[in-house]
């Protein structure tokens, strides 16, 4: 509430709001719910549905003096317009009186509902939206008990129109509010929906191929105010009132979208409590009220019949079921025997609690924790990361964002969406990558480099931004312009990815980015900092808890070890060449959800719980620690990773071990300075967020859940806590020329990884193995689009179908990660057009 605020009354309640606030929002703030269908607080108002009609009284002004006229009592005289007005398109005015529940306003809205119902099938009893449907609720409130419209006059329309593979339209139920169309244009940046025809024939159509081609399509089902849009996944799956809700955090990428898992105990699932759908949970600083379709649909792995249910111990060369006691004893024995030659290998799939417990278990016998990550730089992120007050939603005019070496739209779609909005608010988005990506759509400067030159490009930008002459890097107009933008930016956020880089390269990239932040005066600024676009949800947490990549290959690490404890990662599946090194171990323990290729070679396999069965915390790429909660009972005998590690450590003689996830976080808070304030209570804190969602009036914000379980805690960066800002420019890695073509693994959102494959709903959109080539390279090796190519490197080989794509740089080839190829790092390969016979 500030001096410039406008004062008015809404249904007798006094409101003070900033000028420009729409009446509908002002009313919401004082608890007056004005019904809406087309209006959504995150979309531009259009005033189409006419549901929000209210009476507005405006002070009468004297024509000559411009003064507000007052009556005998000194009360301003108000004049009410002859027509009702739309509260969703009318900004507030000083001294106005808005009547929402007057007879006239109610009558107007009754009529609008009556009109809407003339074309609506009222098939609530079989509608997925029934029970959480704005139209259903507003009909109960505003609709007449009896229809004047004759039932026989209703038009029958198609009830199953797939707009794509994921979203189905029921044309009868659609009330033409265009929320979906506008969401796709304004928020998702994929304008693939539109209206076709006109008047009563108006229908929602998709004009992309494939249909409804957008990674954000599921959100339209949340904001659809009727049951017109449903997901192929949840359609006819359950009634909303049967569902339980549990707060969770998306485990698929480092954004850390807040989720609500809707579960139900059902006969069709053998009487088990299962997840029926994943919904966004509001966190305006993280995902607002949106999630991507991967987060929404890729949860089925948790209920896959392939999940491990019991511990397995190798006997006579075969893995056989065992009791936990036996398995843990066998495992502890193997660890004790290896002693300091035990290596613990973990990934960013594990929670903070798991990583801390696992490290404790490994170190109990003097073993060594090693992070299996293709990406480095987490230490620089801890030092120079986004701070405790950060929110990408506050970036705007005068600020700058640099994204380097990433296809953000594929790797972390919600960040892409948030940066797109930042650009719309006026922030300069600078994109540096070896190829065109969808970031370029809203970039103010685009810098192209060759694969292998990312650090040089960053150094060039750094030189231009700081004017330091001892830094050498790429030069050019775009680099110069980007440097200037970075230098003059009020706030600066740098996102770094790993496309075309190995762990060392990304570490150098992170260091260079940190140097830019420090040397342009952005370190420790409120909204500035460094963000790693990690390939897993909790890699930043792993770094923060002391886990580090080896610096050498895993083969070397395994070669020096006698035993390994591997959790949440499948090194053999990722790289078959590790087979001999794993085979040479005396003892191998694997904690997993599935019997992965690595697990299949283990001596002991310990079944772990998935994120839906347990609690834990994850640290997002932005440095926000967030908590997730159990949604369903444990799967078989599976246990949380932290519990397994605790048991192993206890068996090895460790004392004073925490006995719960909450206690493990407290242990972390004791030993990790950046986490010192944390507790599960702190992570569960909430505050009021705008827009208000999840109330009884689902028509306002849609069915995204209100956040009652915790907004998490954004960690302070080390520089924010007064740490040193000293950082040297990194050495530019030497170029590694070689024969052949540089095959670069790239991320695609819908890959064939173990956590995605069980979500069959994504099958039609799932990437299959291909190799994308520049047309000139394709010509040189004599391969056409769709033809088979064989790749050979280091004694390995693979066959993939060629995709000819001019956006691929010459001399490089793109291969999707987790799609069947075992390449995990940029590698020089020899390409040969396969004989057609060979391809079959």
């Amino acid at each position: 509430m500030t001096a410039g605020d406008v004062r008015l009354t809404i249904d007798g309640r006094e409101v003070r709001v900033p000028p420009g606030t729409l009446i509908v929002d002002a009313a919401k703030r004082v608890g007056v719910d004005i019904p809406v269908f087309c209006y959504h607080p995150k979309l531009e108002p259009v005033g189409m549905c006419r549901m929000c009609l209210v009476e507005i009284g405006r002070p009468v002004r004297d024509r000559a003096t411009g003064e507000v006229q007052v009556d005998d009592h000194g009360t301003p005289v108000l004049q009410y317009g002859p027509k009702l007005e739309t509260a969703c398109t009318t900004p507030v005015g000083e001294g106005w009186d808005v009547r929402v529940s007057s007879e006239k306003a109610r009558q107007g809205r009754n009529e609008v509902v009556e009109f809407l119902l003339t074309s609506h099938p009222l098939d609530c009893p079989i509608c997925d939206k029934g029970g959480e449907c704005p139209l259903q609720n507003l009909t109960l409130e505003h609709g007449p008990g009896k229809s004047r419209f004759l039932f026989d006059d209703k038009i029958r329309l198609d009830k199953r129109v797939p707009l794509g593979d994921l979203i189905v339209l029921d044309r009868e139920r659609c009330i033409q509010c265009a929320r979906c169309v506008r969401f796709q244009e304004e928020i998702a940046g994929d304008p693939v929906l539109g209206f076709f025809e006109r008047g009563r024939k108006l229908e929602i159509v998709t004009f992309s191929d494939p249909g409804f081609d957008s990674y954000f399509s599921g959100n339209t089902t949340d904001i659809c105010p009727v049951g017109a849009l449903t997901t192929a996944d949840f359609r006819f799956g359950a009634r909303p009132w049967e569902l339980n809700a549990a707060a969770s955090i998306c485990p698929h990428c480092p954004v850390g979208c807040n989720l609500t898992l809707n579960t139900r105990r059902e006969a069709v699932s053998g009487g088990l409590e299962v997840v029926k759908r994943v919904m966004p949970r509001q966190n305006e600083a993280v995902n607002e009220t949106w999630i991507c379709d991967k987060g929404r649909f890729a949860y089925h792995f948790a209920a896959s019949p392939e999940r491990l249910k019991t511990p397995l111990v190798r006997k006579d060369g075969r893995l056989v079921e065992a009791t936990w006691d036996e398995a843990l004893e066998t495992a502890a024995e193997g660890m004790r025997t290896a002693g300091s030659r035990l290596v613990g290998i973990a990934s960013g799939r594990l929670s903070n609690e798991d990583l801390m417990a696992l490290r404790t278990a490994v170190e109990t016998v003097g073993g060594r924790p090693v992070l299996d990550a293709p990406m480095g730089g987490g230490d620089f992120v801890r030092r120079f990361g986004l701070g405790s007050q950060s929110d990408l939603g506050r970036l705007g005019r005068g600020d700058a964002v640099l994204v380097i070496a990433s296809d953000l739209h594929e790797e972390a779609p919600i960040w892409w969406l948030r940066l797109r909005k930042a650009a719309e608010r006026g922030a300069e988005v600078i994109v540096a990558n070896a190829r065109r990506t969808r970031l370029d759509e809203f970039a103010s400067h685009v810098i192209r480099y060759e694969y292998g030159q990312a650090v040089e490009a960053l150094l060039g930008i750094g030189a231009a931004a700081t004017g330091e002459t001892n830094v050498r890097g790429l030069v050019g107009e775009a680099v110069e312009a980007a440097g200037k933008a970075l230098r003059s930016a009020a706030e600066l956020v740098i996102f770094f990815g790993a496309e075309g880089l190995d762990a060392k390269g990304t570490a150098a990239l992170a260091q260079g980015a940190a140097a830019i932040l420090a040397r342009t005066g952005h370190a420790a600024k409120e909204q500035s900092g460094l963000v790693g676009i990690w390939p897993q949800a909790n890699l930043q947490g792993a770094w923060d808890l002391g886990w580090r990549p080896t610096g050498r290959g895993l083969a070397d690490v395994l070669g020096e070890a006698k035993a390994a404890l591997i959790a949440g990662v499948d090194p053999l599946g990722d790289d078959p060449s590790l087979g001999p090194a794993l085979g040479a171990l005396d003892f191998l323990i694997v904690q997993e959800l599935f019997l992965t290729e690595t697990a299949a070679t283990a001596d002991v396999v310990l079944p772990a719980q998935s994120f839906i069965e347990r609690e834990g915390s994850l640290t997002s790429g932005e440095g926000r620690v967030q908590r997730y909660y159990p949604a369903v009972p444990a799967w078989g005998e599976a246990r949380p990773d932290w519990s397994i590690s605790s048991s192993l450590a206890a068996g090895l003689g460790a004392k004073d071990l925490p006995t719960s996830a909450a206690a493990w976080l407290e242990r972390i808070a004791e030993v990790v300075p950046a986490y010192h304030d944390l507790s599960y209570q702190a992570l569960a804190r909430v505050e009021e967020q705008w827009p208000l969602v999840g109330g009884d009036d689902l028509y306002f914000g849609g069915t995204a859940y209100e956040n009652r379980q915790g907004l998490g805690v954004a960690l302070a960066s080390e520089v924010e806590r007064g740490g040193s800002k000293d950082v040297d420019w990194p050495m530019s890695p030497p170029p590694q020329p070689g024969p052949g073509i540089l095959a670069v693994p790239v991320h695609r959102l819908y890959d064939r990884g173990t956590t995605l494959l069980p979500s069959r709903v994504l099958d039609p959109r799932r990437v299959s193995l291909y190799i994308a080539l520049n047309p000139s390279d394709a010509t040189a090796i004599g391969v056409g689009d769709g033809e088979a190519v064989s790749l050979a490197w280091d004694g390995q080989s693979q066959t993939a179908l060629a995709v000819i794509d001019p956006s691929v740089p010459q001399g490089a080839a793109l291969i999707p990660r987790s799609a069947g190829a075992t390449l995990s790092m940029p590698t020089r390969v020899t390409l040969l057009a396969s004989q057609p016979e060979a391809a079959r």
Binding site: G108, E111, F115, G199
Partner: protein, 418 residues
């Protein structure tokens, strides 16, 4: 009127040929205006002339130009040649027969608005006319009457013709702009008005063909002369499109304020076959239907007087109906039209026109019993005042005014056949 001001081709043969138009002083006003007057002078003169928009709304033209956001360029002039109101055919005659006066008017408007691009948005059915207009624009451009540096001045203007796809709603200025931008023809929310955010988000003047055709004579002969025609608040001549049961239907250029009686009887030759007039639709389908009483017939057709007898002047397309006409049938026709043309953007119009049509169709088929007329009236009243743009509001006018003023025609259908 002895000499036509807008339909000058009726006095001068071959006025649609550029040399004829120029021989009769054509483009001379533009030349002198550019040489002698500032854009603001032009706006002031047009304001002083009292010219009001001839598309239907009757908004003062000079005032509309004055709303252009200052200092934001480029700006656009968009000519509304969508002429799609039933019974309106005045713009078509101007474009076919007196096209250069329109083009000169467009140039004067663009000069006043400081725009260097103008678009003529023609309804889809005008495809042949659009082609002819393009040929004439090219001719004028070749003679430097349009195009770069007109008459050697700093004023340049390119005029393009854009063809719509045949939607009535695209005559509404913001739907027209959406359509021009290649989008679905649906009206925009106002404000912002086109003068602030119009075509491609730029300040834009949208004027009707007839409005712009008034500009050359106004600037040639002055505001005072113009005000001497018509009435105090409705200055100037107007082309009235007269149709229906009259002996001589057609366009008649008459001063605003001419009475219905004068138009219909003195100019239109009275009712065909000597029958009695029953009703008048003074503005196509988009206004309340008037009973042809003496009071109505003696009402001056100007922007102030027609509302006093319960209707609107609109685009002045006067449809005359004799005593054989069933007003319930008229309501069915207009409702079918509006239901067909409703863009579907807002609920009351999309659903309400559909509902009204269903009731009217049932009424005419004689299927239903008593109460249908009151039901129809209630539906129409439910639409009233709730729509996003005027189309929905127009759609109910023949229905509500019909039921109020010719109730017997409607009630007569209740329950026939059963």
């Amino acid at each position: 009127m002895a000499d036509h001001i807008l339909l000058r081709h009726r006095d001068i043969p071959d006025l649609d040929r550029l040399e004829v138009y120029q021989r009769h002083g054509g483009f001379e006003t533009l030349r002198r205006t550019i040489a002698e007057k500032s854009p603001q002078d032009v706006i002031d003169i047009v304001k002083a002339s009292g010219l009001r928009g001839r598309g239907g709304a009757g908004f003062p033209t000079g005032v509309k130009w004055g709303f252009l956001t200052p200092d934001v360029f480029p700006r656009y002039v968009v000519v509304n040649a969508d002429e799609s109101e039933p019974g309106t055919f005045k713009d078509r005659e101007i474009m076919e027969r007196n096209p250069f006066q329109l083009l000169e008017g467009i140039a004067l408007c663009a000069y006043a608005a400081r725009a260097s691009t103008a678009y003529v948005y023609c309804r889809g059915e005008f495809w042949d006319l659009a082609h002819e207009l393009e040929v004439r624009i090219a001719e004028a451009r070749q003679k430097n009457l349009l195009g770069p540096k007109i008459f050697g001045s700093d004023f340049s203007l390119e005029v393009y013709v854009h063809l719509g796809a045949g939607a009535y709603i695209c005559g509404e200025e913001t739907a027209l702009l959406e359509s021009m931008e290649g989008k679905l023809g649906q009206p925009r929310l106002r404000p912002p008005f086109p003068a602030a955010k119009g075509l491609f988000g730029r300040p834009t003047v949208v004027n009707n063909v007839e409005t712009l055709t008034n500009l050359p004579p106004i600037l040639e002969r002055g505001a005072e002369w113009y005000r001497s025609i018509g009435t105090k608040d409705s200055a100037g001549p107007k082309v009235f499109s007269l149709s229906g049961h009259v002996a001589q239907p057609g366009n008649y250029e008459l001063p605003l304020g001419t009475t219905f009686r004068t138009l219909i009887f003195d100019h239109g030759g009275g009712v065909a076959g000597g029958r009695k007039i029953k009703a008048i639709l003074p503005a196509g389908a988009s206004a309340p239907i008037l009973p042809a009483t003496d009071e109505v017939l003696d009402t001056p057709m100007d922007y102030e007087s027609v509302p006093k007898v319960g209707s609107m002047l609109g685009s002045a397309s006067v449809i005359v109906m004799d005593d054989t006409v069933d007003v319930a049938w008229v309501a069915l026709k207009t409702t079918r039209f509006f239901k067909h043309e409703s863009c579907g953007k807002c609920t009351p119009c999309r659903e309400g026109t559909f509902w009204m049509l269903r009731v009217l169709e049932r009424l005419h088929s004689g299927q239903d019993g008593e109460g249908q007329v009151d039901g129809l009236y209630a539906v129409a009243r439910g639409i009233e005042g709730k729509c996003l743009c005027p189309l929905g509001e127009f759609s109910i006018m023949p229905v509500t005014s019909g039921v109020e003023r010719f109730r017997a025609d409607f009630v007569a259908h209740e329950g026939d056949g059963r």
